[in-house]
């Protein structure tokens, strides 16, 4: 899949000196290798895009560049000098600034205070600093009032404060972590205008994203990251979206083969015109209409952060939207989460540590979680310890959960084994509808096949499944139908029998192909 790896970087920037050079960087965390053998060349005065799927290792790489984390292996050079940062302070000194995706701003401080914080020595905290902020703000068209409280600013303005912070410190290299993820289209245009101004004044930018249209609109060069390593570079002027999507998504693992269709005509889940807004009144989900039949797996494809989590949480009742949700013909939208679970809805959350487990409780207690009102966990108002333990043992055996005992705290298990426990739990008690996010994420290859097997078996027995996965092969292999979600809306409908990961990748990123 690295057919484009040899493509030379864009003509425009090939003769420029390198601002950043990364060679063979590797970073391990307990349980995973986040980066391995990463190579990256960023030419001075360019916008360099780093693209890749969620979980491809982009965030780790940029944290290493900014000194938040240290690489285990490999070298980094800035302006030809080899460096090794042990804190952001050192990166700032070397002229690198970072704009975090989750803004690092203190709400109750003014723009000026946020900007000068930690850099008071440069221009003080008074009139001189104010003048400097005003100068930068005017130079790049930020239109920021230094004395405004940050909590009164909109998202786009906050981002400009972040950029201003970086420029105020004299950074020539700016890392932007998914800067467009939180912006509406008009704000994106404004941001790009700012970035072009910055490039014109000689700044170098590393632009991290997975939105191909945006990347092609702003970047001079592109580097693609997949599964923790760099798999190629591309020239945004010549590369098609299709080629980029192919590089990003890849297709390596054995696909789960769908057996013959077990889809029935009985509607198990129906969502009609479901909407959800956040605290700020922005639409998280708009006009969702879905139907899943008994014995059907509906795959939901989408780049992370486009409303999948919100959709699942609305279904299980953690979030409250508007519109109608019926399960097996019964309207459940007024039900509490507990009643929905009692009605036979199983839930495999995207963030298992936050939503799926009690990390310090033993496995058998985790078996009870979410099933506090149903046998064998409880009898009447009492916890049935024997029943819960016996059933936990069954899950451990059947799903091959590698653990010394069912009394081990969940925290001690590896991510994959935690996931197997959750799946075993949610599949028990004969659910009628399974809401699953990334069921095989972080699971080893063998267990992956086993989990697929369990889902297929349950499907044969009439289970309806809503499946969200970042692994497109998994989606294609397991689903009877696939829908694509983009910015909280369903934008596409595919038949997995004649769709490729590349087609899906394009729909997910909002492109129509070239």
């Amino acid at each position: 899949m690295s057919s484009m790896a040899a493509t030379p970087a864009g003509e425009a920037s090939s003769h420029r000196p390198l601002a950043i050079q990364v060679r063979g960087v590797t970073k391990r965390f307990p349980g995973v290798v986040a980066n391995h053998d990463v190579d990256l060349d960023i030419a001075e005065g360019t916008v360099h895009a780093l693209i890749g799927e969620n979980g491809a290792g982009k965030s780790t790489l940029m944290k290493i560049l900014y000194g938040v984390q240290k690489a285990d292996e490999g070298t980094i050079s800035v302006n030809g000098q080899e460096v090794s940062f042990s804190s952001p302070t050192e990166a700032i000194k070397a002229g690198i600034g970072m704009v975090f995706q989750h803004f690092m701003l203190a709400d109750n401080l003014t723009v000026l205070e946020n900007v000068v914080l930690g850099a008071e020595k440069l221009h003080g905290i008074g009139p001189a600093a104010r003048a400097e902020i005003q100068r930068i703000s005017d130079a790049y068209g930020f239109a920021l009032d230094p004395d405004e409280l940050v909590e009164h600013l909109g998202v786009g303005q906050r981002q400009r404060v972040e950029i201003l912070k970086v420029l105020y410190r004299g950074a020539k290299i700016v890392i932007l972590d998914e800067p467009t993820a939180v912006l509406v289209p008009q704000e994106v245009d404004a941001l790009f205008a700012n970035l072009r101004e910055l490039r014109a004044s000689g700044h170098t930018m590393l632009f991290i994203s997975h939105k191909l249209d945006e990347v092609r609109a702003i970047a001079d060069d592109i580097t693609v990251l997949r599964r923790g390593t760099t798999v190629g570079t591309a020239d945004p002027k010549t590369a098609t979206k299709r080629e980029l999507a192919e590089l990003m998504v890849g297709a390596e693992l054995p696909s789960p083969e769908t057996e013959e269709s077990t889809v029935t005509t009985d509607v198990q889940l129906s969502m009609v015109d479901v909407n959800l807004v956040d605290d700020f009144g922005r639409n998280l989900l708009s006009g969702i209409n879905l139907t899943i039949h008994r014995g059907e797996v509906l795959g939901l494809a989408g780049v992370e952060g486009n409303g999948q989590d919100e959709l699942l949480e609305t279904l299980i009742g953690i979030r409250r939207g508007t519109g109608s949700i019926t399960v097996g013909g019964v309207e459940v939208s007024s039900y509490s989460t507990r009643r929905r679970r009692e009605a036979g809805m199983g839930f495999i959350p995207a963030d298992r540590h936050r939503h799926g487990l009690l990390l310090d409780a033993p496995l058998w207690e985790n078996r009870i979680l979410g099933h506090q009102t149903t046998a064998p966990s409880v009898t009447g108002p009492l916890v049935n310890r024997r029943g819960a333990k016996a059933d936990t043992q069954r899950i451990v055996d059947l799903y091959d959960v590698r653990t010394p005992s069912i009394n081990t705290p969940a925290r001690a298990l590896s991510g994959g084994n935690q996931q197997k426990l959750i799946i075993g739990r949610e599949m028990s008690g004969d659910p009628v509808l399974l809401i699953a996010a990334h069921p095989t994420r972080g699971v080893d290859v063998g267990a992956q096949a086993a989990i697929w097997g369990h889902i297929k078996r349950a499907r044969r027995e009439g289970l309806a499944v809503l499946l969200v996965s970042a692994d497109l092969d998994e989606l294609i292999g397991l689903s009877d139908r696939i829908k694509v979600i983009l910015r909280g809306e369903i934008v596409g409908d595919f038949d997995p029998r004649n769709v490729t990961p590349q087609d899906l990748g394009q729909a997910m990123t909002g492109g129509k192909g070239d």
Binding site: G31, G356, L358, D360, L369, G370
Partner: protein
């Protein structure tokens, strides 16, 4: 983990804390010019029979206070208001019992129920403020503690009967007083009958928390609110219920003393009502890690310390009995710090173990 190692891990934090507490207290003692050796000798002297009886009586009250605090702690609710809750409840119960609407044991039972109701009602205020207005229960319970002091003070001075300089509630008539048990000589005093309440409260607490669905929901909410919500627990409902249960338990704290025939007075007044038990209970709950058995030991330890300290002057030592409060405070601080430290060690050890496991290639996992 082998049994020995697990046992060690469970014991190491309390032991570290106690050692540190003894050292710090010794420094304080020697600053005052008393030899710490003499002090600890006096403290560790075998308690007199009379002291033993006192220890049992005091520990029953401290234990119930600890349970009241622990119910909240189990859910990450900081009910600092046990102090106010048991003051209000004790006053209400004393007024009711003194009025003698019914007689005999029925009076006792109804008073107990009323005390629980009053404690629960007082605790419901911060709970409701928390779930409807988002007010931190820490601040509101602190405020309510003081309001309870002045509110009860006002009621007492307006509706209480005169007795000497102060005011008191009507004394409970003899037929509602409970005799208690006399383990030693008559002069050594009696174990109050209602110390059995502590046993009941302890067993119920253990059973509800560990064996019931409600207890599971309570613990789950305390461990991870997000996971609790995803599992279908209504956190707001749990906050109100557990806060009120905490207050109801707090309502019982002082009643063993109130109904005891041998106690100093069978009424509520500024001289008979024992203050500060609410804060001692918080300390014991922390010491016992909110576990029933742990809190039994904690309550006995704290009762032992205060009873022995009261006897210090008889031992010829010029040390204020208030030194006990210093010890208690220091124990709380050292215990939470040492649990924190041990917790960090454990996390570090776990991470090392996982990294070690990762290096053996067979267990390598696909990167997330």
């Amino acid at each position: 983990m082998p049994v020995v190692k697990r046992l060690l891990a469970a014991v190491i934090a309390p032991v570290m804390a106690l050692v540190a507490a003894v050292l710090i207290t010794s420094v304080v003692i020697s600053v005052s010019g008393t030899s710490p050796v003499d002090f600890w000798q006096a403290m560790l002297e075998k308690p007199s029979n009379r002291s033993l009886v006192n220890i049992v009586n005091q520990s029953s009250m401290i234990f119930m206070s600890a349970v009241a605090a622990a119910i909240g702690f189990r859910m990450n609710l900081f009910n600092i208001g046990v102090e106010g809750q048991y003051r209000v409840a004790s006053y209400v119960a004393a007024v009711f019992a003194g009025a003698a609407f019914v007689s005999g044991w029925l009076n006792v039972v109804l008073s107990l129920l009323l005390a629980m109701l009053a404690g629960a009602a007082w605790a419901a205020i911060p709970a409701i403020l928390r779930v409807t207005r988002g007010v931190s229960e820490v601040i509101s319970t602190i405020m309510l503690n003081s309001i309870a002091v002045f509110g009860v003070g006002w009621l007492l001075s307006n509706y209480g009967e005169k007795a000497g300089d102060g005011r008191r509630t009507t004394p409970i008539s003899d037929d509602s007083l409970l005799a208690g048990w006399q383990p030693f000589e008559r002069t050594d005093g009696k174990i109050w009958s209602l110390t059995v309440l502590a046993v009941l409260v302890g067993v119920t607490y253990w059973f509800v928390v560990n064996r019931t669905r409600f207890g599971f929901d309570l613990r789950a909410t305390g461990q991870s609110e997000t996971a609790a919500v995803a599992s279908g627990i209504s956190v707001k409902r749990m906050i109100v219920i557990s806060m009120m249960l905490s207050g109801a338990t707090a309502g019982l704290i002082w009643l063993p003393s109130l109904f005891a025939e041998t106690a100093s007075g069978h009424y509520f007044s500024s001289s008979t009502f024992q203050v500060q038990l609410g804060f001692t209970g918080i300390a014991v709950a922390l010491l016992g890690r909110n576990k029933a058995v742990g809190m039994v030991f904690g309550a006995l330890l704290f009762a032992y310390l205060s009873v022995q300290a009261s006897a210090l002057e008889f031992a010829g030592l010029d040390v204020s009995k208030n030194v006990v409060m210093v010890i208690q405070g220091v124990v709380v601080l050292t215990i939470v710090i040492s649990y924190e430290v041990v917790g960090r060690w454990r996390t570090a050890a776990e991470q090392r173990a996982v990294t070690a496991a990762l290096q053996s290639p067979s267990k390598q996992e696909v990167p997330a």
